[in-house]
Symmetry: C2
Subunit: 360 residues, 2 copies
């Protein structure tokens, strides 16, 4: 099927569909940016955003008027190892609370003018709410400390869930996407995946998540080491790493990044879990990176290493570590600001001054 039908691209098909950015348009946008009444390049990364948005969309004047945040919710069997400061039931509770409108992402996405799409991709409870998309692969993953999180085909299925959802959002006219998640234990799975994919030590990639004690953090590090020892993931095969050490939330989000690239939509990383998912997607298909933007620098320490591996720098330095897509929602504003400057500033012709000189 063609991508224009939307909503049903398979994994391999999505990978094969990912194309290059439109260099022709990007050059034209650069020229217009240089004609605006300001020192050349002085809007910094706001200019880079506009250029990248144009390259993704193929539009000289890209529009952002319909934003969405996808929130993948899932449980992780590794919570059996006591790796989280809060009980497993919080995953289901918070997932339901997204529908009550009282969570951080509810109020921040509303402020950003963004809709949220909450996906139950593996919560270990029956979530029956009309607002939540039921895409449950299974009620939580296996405990990675004793075996694989999921099968390879489950990992592919979870990624296809993300790809499919992005296709639907494309059809609905969304033109800026953010990624969020909820899943007790998912900083442990994200750390485990990141340890293997970035070749950093667990001591560097693991943090306190929602609020672990020092003893809790030591346990978490040991669990990650054990998970890698037990599962022996093949670091050159990101799908193997994802299925053995990841979670349904990470897999679903990796699918969102792949899907965004296939459907040519800009998509933002949120925090640590989302960055781990982005790295999985980029390791599967490096060209996907061109469709991804960072947002904030999560307080979770491994995030810095993930950003380095992705060769990205967060725009926001807010020390947030809430997840849910909250950092992406706050960063949406920067894209609005970039386009406002690009669309509405006067040119040197309007300004009665000569173009400022260029940096050497």
């Amino acid at each position: 099927m063609s991508i224009d039908d939307g909503g049903n691209m398979r994994f391999e098909e999505a990978l094969n569909t990912v194309g290059k950015l439109d260099n022709g348009i990007m050059g034209k946008v650069q020229k217009r940016l240089d004609s605006l009444t300001k020192p050349l390049g002085s809007l910094g990364r706001l200019e880079d955003m506009v250029i990248q948005l144009a390259g993704i969309t193929g539009e000289m004047f890209p529009k952002i008027d319909k934003k969405a945040i996808v929130i993948m919710c899932a449980d992780n069997g590794v919570t059996d190892e006591g790796v989280s400061s809060c009980p497993k039931s919080v995953t289901a509770s918070v997932t339901r609370n997204f529908m009550k409108g009282i969570t951080g992402i509810n109020v921040l996405s509303a402020q950003a003018g963004a809709d949220i799409f909450v996906v139950d991709i593996g919560v270990d409870d029956d979530i029956s709410s009309s607002g939540i998309l039921n895409k449950k692969i299974r009620k939580g993953t296996g405990n990675i400390a004793i075996g694989p999180a999921m099968t390879r085909s489950e990992a592919i299925k979870a990624m296809e869930t993300g790809i499919e959802l992005i296709g639907e959002l494309k059809n609905k006219g969304y033109n800026l996407l953010g990624t969020g998640e909820m899943g007790v234990g998912n900083t442990t799975t994200s750390s485990a995946v990141s340890v293997v994919l970035t070749k950093n030590d667990p001591e560097i990639m693991a943090g306190r998540g929602a609020g672990l004690t020092t003893t809790g953090l030591e346990n978490k590090i040991n669990v990650i080491k054990k998970a890698i020892e037990v599962n022996k993931p093949d670091y050159s095969d990101p799908v193997d790493v994802l299925s053995k050490l990841g979670g349904f939330d990470i897999a679903g989000l990796a699918g969102c990044f792949l899907g965004a690239a296939a459907y040519r939509l800009p998509i933002l990383i949120d925090g640590f879990i989302s960055a781990a998912a982005a790295l999985v997607a980029v390791k599967i298909k490096p060209e996907v990176k061109n469709y991804i933007f960072p947002s904030h620098g999560s307080a979770e320490p491994g995030n810095t290493k993930l950003m380095e591996e992705l060769n990205m720098e967060p725009y926001l330095n807010l020390g947030m570590r809430l997840g849910e897509g909250t950092g992406a929602a706050v960063a949406f504003h920067l894209f609005d600001a970039a386009l406002v400057a690009y669309n509405r500033m006067g040119t040197f012709d309007d300004a009665d001054i000569e173009q400022y000189e260029h940096l050497e």
Copy 2:
């Protein structure tokens, strides 16, 4: 006169009026933040913003519904030394363009819902525009490479101009302020002031401004060295440093920071020039710092050192170096986001989950 009359506080009076933050309210705000349905502290610096806003205003639920950016415009005699990549006349042209609505700050402040107040505090031209506040001290400062920029009493007068304006904004109901400037040559004066106040070398504190060549940068560094040698500023007397090496724009903005503290209003630093002005204000009266927020990390290299000296970390990492208050305008959104989260998120009582554990 009492500060409640607004608009006419003198320099010494303003300094004596600067009070402490309201610790009682700050404690209550912290408690409310901890009751919201999220891991403790997970909104990071957004939480710190709310606490500081409450401490400044004395309000348990501080409001931000009227924002302003003050733009101080002035010429600098040091442009005679060829320290800028653009001609001196650009100061007057851009100052007039603020009234045409085509500059970066026009479109970004409009997006942020902020009004701009453009002040001619020393442009070397007759600016006759009804929209521009005529507070001209003199038509440009002296060339700091051969003598002082201004007299001490001119520096005080320029600071009082800023203090007075903030008083007027307080009376008009503004409750979040940003600082901006326009003045060809003002990265040179800001660097010179910063070299003395932070005791860093000119090689570290000087950058390319609007777009200097490498030779131009070397010249700029030599001019700064010469200015310090000729003027022999007393580093322990910030007003002496300001008057000998600064500019009317820097002095006016330093007055804005002092005024914001005296009138208990939150105020944002923009870029390098604005940060130099903030440092002058804080060196004059250290308690002023409690009323100041950073915004973005300017691409001008000395900015990092100024932030270190102020013990602040920019919220935004956008590589901007446009000035005019543009970085502050973009950062205004973060304060809106912080208050939206604080005001509208549910509490653990609403959320049907127990409070997440605290970090050790």
